[in-house]
């Protein structure tokens, strides 16, 4: 069973629809009690909006401690999406609150100076992974092209402290990490739930991990 953490942020129904079509057992989780009792084998942590707002909402949901336990102790695979990826970090340039700190690193803003005059922020639209970590034969990337297009909508990105944790990068002004992985913890900056077939493939891969 995949649990989609519903703390009031992000497109929960889009994930449910995709997994329903894939005949994958999937359900939203809104309380720490549910989170504990559901025996989840995969967790999706969505998120949109500002970093601090996401952290505050997650704290308020009461699910933070149970999540820490499931992810860090029980090693249940988790996929953070968009701001859900960013809050995996220790901190963010965008806010003052600490992140979950599950993967060492910081969230930074895309460097405006490196953008061309016709390249605005937020980074919005379809962009491709330009480098997928060659040493990684990570199954979450199976059946994808080498440079797949995904939908991006953000101004900040996760810069992992250890470059070994970078699973893929994309380019906007400069290369930035768009997929991160450390053990059972995964993050993706773009929106697989809104990226047509590539997104469906990636979400299916995550379920099959």
């Amino acid at each position: 069973m995949i649990g989609i953490i519903d703390y009031g942020l992000g497109n929960i129904s889009a994930f449910l629809n995709i997994y329903k079509r894939l005949n994958t057992p999937c359900q939203t989780v809104q309380t720490p009690q549910e989170l504990e009792k559901l025996n989840l084998t995969k967790i999706i942590l969505p998120g949109v909006g500002a970093f601090d707002h996401a952290m505050t909402s997650l704290q308020k949901s009461g699910m933070r401690e149970v999540l820490d336990n499931l992810v860090l102790e029980k090693k249940i695979p988790v996929l953070g999406i968009c701001v859900g990826m960013q809050i995996l970090a220790e901190s963010s340039e965008e806010g003052v609150l600490p992140g979950l700190g599950w993967i060492k690193g910081q969230v930074e803003k895309i460097d405006k100076i490196k953008l061309k005059s016709h390249e605005p922020l937020p980074h919005m639209g379809w962009n491709q992974f330009n480098k997928i970590n060659q040493f990684s034969e990570n199954l979450i990337l199976k059946n994808l092209d080498l440079d797949p297009y995904f939908y991006f909508l953000h101004s900040y990105y996760f810069e992992p402290a250890d470059s070994q944790h970078i699973l893929a990068t994309a380019h906007y002004g400069h290369d930035f990490c768009c997929m991160v992985n450390a053990e059972n913890i995964y993050g993706i900056q773009c929106h697989p739930e809104k990226s047509h077939q590539n997104g469906i493939t990636l979400l299916k891969n995550f379920w099959e991990l």
Partner: protein
């Protein structure tokens, strides 16, 4: 590389899809959910859906309809129409919509945009400006309420102000070119483009792939939106939903 976005824009009235010419002479073009299903198959970049009844009739947004649409959409969805408060905007975002478009509320209560951008992030806050050239002064003026209500605000100053408030995207819609399918309003774009430093989407007038190609070649990373072009076929305006196929799209995106 980041691709320019090619975006169908759908208008909703009484739960049905319509298409207008110069914001008038609307024609019924079908069921919105059915259109979304077709656009899913065609793998469109994004979708804009505007409820053109909501503000004019002072109605609440139709949450059930929005929920049904967003559940069906496999691409990012921008919804506009009748949103006046932070609570309404957040409720719509929670239904699975990526971006919220404001028009009259943005002009009447700009602080709403600032507050919302701070809370949900600028990437989800869009302002749509319906613009028309004045008959005598030849200046571009902003309209709301489906082109019926003229705003006294200056276009270029408003663009600057909205960007300062932290919004994430501007959609500029030409009333004069709406439904005409004779090409975008190039002089309007020329005026607006240098003033906009956030993602910009142009709507109104596209009638061919060439129009879209010209926009992309001239302005590169831009949103090319169209209504009629993606729902009508031929000079009798028969309803047929279409979108560039992958090879047409590759050709459009070369710049």
């Amino acid at each position: 590389m980041l691709r320019p976005r090619i975006i169908p824009c759908l208008l909703i009235r009484n739960k049905g899809l319509v298409k207008t010419v110069k914001f008038k002479d609307e024609k019924y073009v079908g069921d919105p959910i059915n259109a979304v299903k077709i656009f899913n198959e065609k793998e469109v970049d994004e979708l804009i859906v505007l409820d053109i009844d909501a503000t004019v009739n002072n109605k609440e947004p139709d949450y059930q309809m929005i929920k049904n649409l967003s559940a069906e959409c496999r691409m990012p969805l921008c919804y506009g129409g009748g949103i006046k408060t932070i609570e309404q905007a957040k409720k719509i975002l929670s239904l699975g919509v990526e971006k919220i478009a404001f028009s009259s509320a943005a002009l009447e209560n700009p602080n709403l945009l600032k507050e919302l951008s701070e809370q949900v992030g600028s990437q989800s806050v869009v302002v749509v400006l319906d613009v028309k050239k004045a008959f005598l002064s030849r200046r571009y003026e902003i309209f709301t309420h489906n082109g019926r209500k003229k705003s006294e605000l200056n276009l270029l100053e408003s663009l600057k102000k909205f960007q300062e408030l932290g919004i994430g995207e501007l959609v500029i819609n030409s009333i004069d070119h709406d439904g005409a399918m004779t090409g975008y309003d190039w002089s309007l774009i020329e005026q607006v483009y240098p003033e906009v430093h956030i993602p910009l989407t142009i709507l109104g007038g596209a009638g061919s792939l060439e129009d879209i190609k010209k926009l992309i070649q001239n302005y590169k990373i831009i949103g090319a939106a169209a209504g009629s072009f993606f729902v009508f076929k031929g000079k009798y305006r028969a309803v047929l939903i279409s979108y560039p196929n992958p090879s047409e799209k590759r050709n459009l995106l070369e710049f």
